[in-house]
Amino acid sequence: MADLTAFTSADHPVRKWRKVKDKIIESILFLAALSSVFVTIGIIYILVSESLPFFQHVSFKEFVTEKEWTPMFSEAKFGILPLVVGTFMATLIALTVAIPLGTITAAYLSEYVKPNVREMLKPILEMLAAVPSVVYGYFALLFVTPILQKFLPELGGFSVLSAGIVMGIMIIPYISSLSEDAMRSVPTHLREASAALGSSKFQTTFRVVFPSAFSGISSAYILGISRALGETMVVAIAAGMQPNLSLNPLEPASTITAYIVQVSLGDLPHGSIGFQSIYVAGLTLLIMTLIFNVLGMWIKVRFQEKE
């Protein structure tokens, strides 16, 4: 028994070693968790440091007000506006498709469908999000565009419209899945109270469940917006990669992401103005998504239902 008491005493070598080992492991795990912060710092540092030299060549005023973006021409012009407009156009078209369809699907799955059917349908719907974006690009260019051309004969081979529509289909599952989670987490007694007052299911869904779940639904929308802003391959393939300051969705255009791909496909020397221009474009995109993410957090806090 004497051995055992020695073992249970705090300064037995085995117990000491275990404590040390625990500490070592904890610090390794901590470093792994902290590394994600370094990734963010790395992204911001690289994007800013590669962009800064750009503004030694181009004034910030030209960057914001110039209406053309032609960094590869001998008469280079550096106005980010066409790319930003193209990005927002594509996003807007995508959201026009995804928000109504996603929200209605979510409400239907959450309030109307039996739970076992829902459990079967959800994974199938989520497959839409699993399809690689380059496959969606193929789909937009060689399936959706020809179909659209039957209805809109003036539509060319490349257009923001078809890229935007396919992007919208692509983000439906993001919106429907998160909105459905939000709607289902609305407590049942609210639905029962509404039903007891004589409301129909439809009224309950849109006057009780939807407003109560608004905080969660809005974060689903924001996620959809950031996905659409940052989506690359669909627009790079189907929208034509031509910077175009136009609000006509039938014309080809370029987005920030498509421009970065277009330049990366060529071979640009490190430090050239074209090389710097993709970092400036990337930084602009990062700031745009950041604004929407912050907006999303604000909405979430602002409209959170108080328990």
């Binding site: 275990r18 625990d22 492991i25 904890e26 390794i28 795990l29 792994a32 968790a33 590394s35 994600s36 912060v37 990734v39 963010t40 790395g42 992204i43 690289i46 994007l47 590669e50 369809l101 209605i104 699907t105 109307y112 349908l121 719907l125 989520e126 497959m127 839409l128 699993a130 399809v131 690689p132 974006s133 380059v134 496959v135 969606y136 690009g137 193929y138 789909f139 260019l141 060689l142 399936f143 409301s199 129909s200 299911k201 439809f202 009224q203 869904t205 802003l229 940052g230 690359t232 391959m233 790079a236 393939i237 992401t257 970065i260 791909v261 990366s264 970092y279 990062l286 998504t289 993410n293």
Partner: protein, 323 residues
């Protein structure tokens, strides 16, 4: 009493007769039932729209692509002639990049998940890390490519290699692994931990012998989903300058001389299936589009099978685990 009676008769006089009320109610109920029915129809239609689109995508891709797929398609390098071109360098590249990605992201993601769920104190640093992971998941993937181009390719001089690609995709899917690991660990009830401590186990022994085995199904699901996302990712790899025309394979990982294992392949240039597909779509000739469709079929099958496995594991695990 009288006043009440009076007011009651007042109300009765002002209101419409009961029969009218009843028929109004009937109309109202009918309308509501109709709107209910209409909405369930609209809901079904929007759900079907999504599913039919998915089906159209599969069918269109398969009709064009499947006839093109034969053994030679997997055994040939890309070529100027569409009928001779194959995806040998692309699938080998995808395989090599995926292995690198897995080595980079899985240990780090699981370790970070364990720390945040089991060790992290409630302080500003933990909050910062958590907030950062949420934000990182929302950063466009092409931004990771720009970061990798500046950091790995130029600052660290790793070149446009398999290693750079693996690290880039590893960092990209890191948040997915961290989040799913945390979710899996969170489902384990505290009684398990307390029982383990009660028997004298240390914190790490508890994690190693109880927390990790019990959450392994959930963690595995997350890992598979993360890798299936990485397989289809194109934009960041195009950004780091992956080449689209590669007619050679990376150097072999095994060598006949000592030490038999070689890591030279990590520094080789590469192409992957999505980039090969993108390259073929971008060409104007329809024959190359057929090749693109065939590559798309292979790519789609791989991601869908991986997702299917993930869903299956999640389902089995949920059934098995009853606390």
């Amino acid at each position: 009493m009288e006043t009440i009676m009076a007011s009651a008769s007042d109300v009765e006089n002002k209101l419409e007769p009961l029969s009218v009320l009843k028929s109004n109610l009937a109309v109202n109920v009918k309308q509501r039932k109709r709107s209910d029915f209409l909405f369930s129809l609209v809901g079904l239609m929007s759900l079907l729209f999504a599913l039919i689109t998915l089906l159209a995508l599969f069918v269109d891709l398969a009709m064009t692509g499947v006839p093109r797929i034969d053994l030679a398609f997997f055994a040939e390098f890309p070529s100027r002639f569409a009928s001779k071109a194959g995806i040998l360098s692309a699938w080998v590249g995808t395989f090599a990049v995926m292995i690198t990605t897995a080595f980079c992201a899985i240990p780090m993601g699981i370790a970070a998940g364990i720390y945040l769920e089991e060790y992290a104190p409630k302080n500003w640093l933990t909050r910062l890390i958590e907030l950062n992971i949420i934000n990182l998941a929302g950063v466009p993937s092409i931004t990771f490519g720009l970061m990798a181009l500046g950091l790995f390719v130029y600052k660290l001089q790793l070149g446009q290699s398999i290693l750079t690609a693996g690290l880039t995709l590893g960092l990209l899917v890191l948040p997915i692994i961290i989040v799913t690991t945390r979710e899996a660990i969170r489902t384990i009830p505290n009684s398990i931990r307390e029982a383990s401590y009660g028997l004298g186990a240390t914190h790490w022994q508890t994690i190693q012998d109880h927390i990790l085995p019990y959450s392994s199904g959930g963690i595995l699901t997350g890992v598979i989903i993360a890798l299936s996302r990485a397989i289809g990712e194109t934009a960041p790899l195009v950004t780091i300058g992956a080449l689209t025309f590669i007619a050679f394979l990376p150097s072999s990982p095994v060598s006949p001389e000592y030490p038999f294992l070689s890591f030279k392949w990590l520094m080789d240039s590469f192409t992957v299936m999505p980039i090969q597909m993108f390259n073929w779509i971008s060409r104007p000739q329809a024959e190359f589009h057929v090749n693109a469709a065939a590559t798309g079929v292979v790519l789609l099958l791989m991601t869908l099978i991986m997702n299917g496995i993930a869903i299956f594991i999640r389902y089995r695990f949920r059934k098995k685990m009853k606390w």
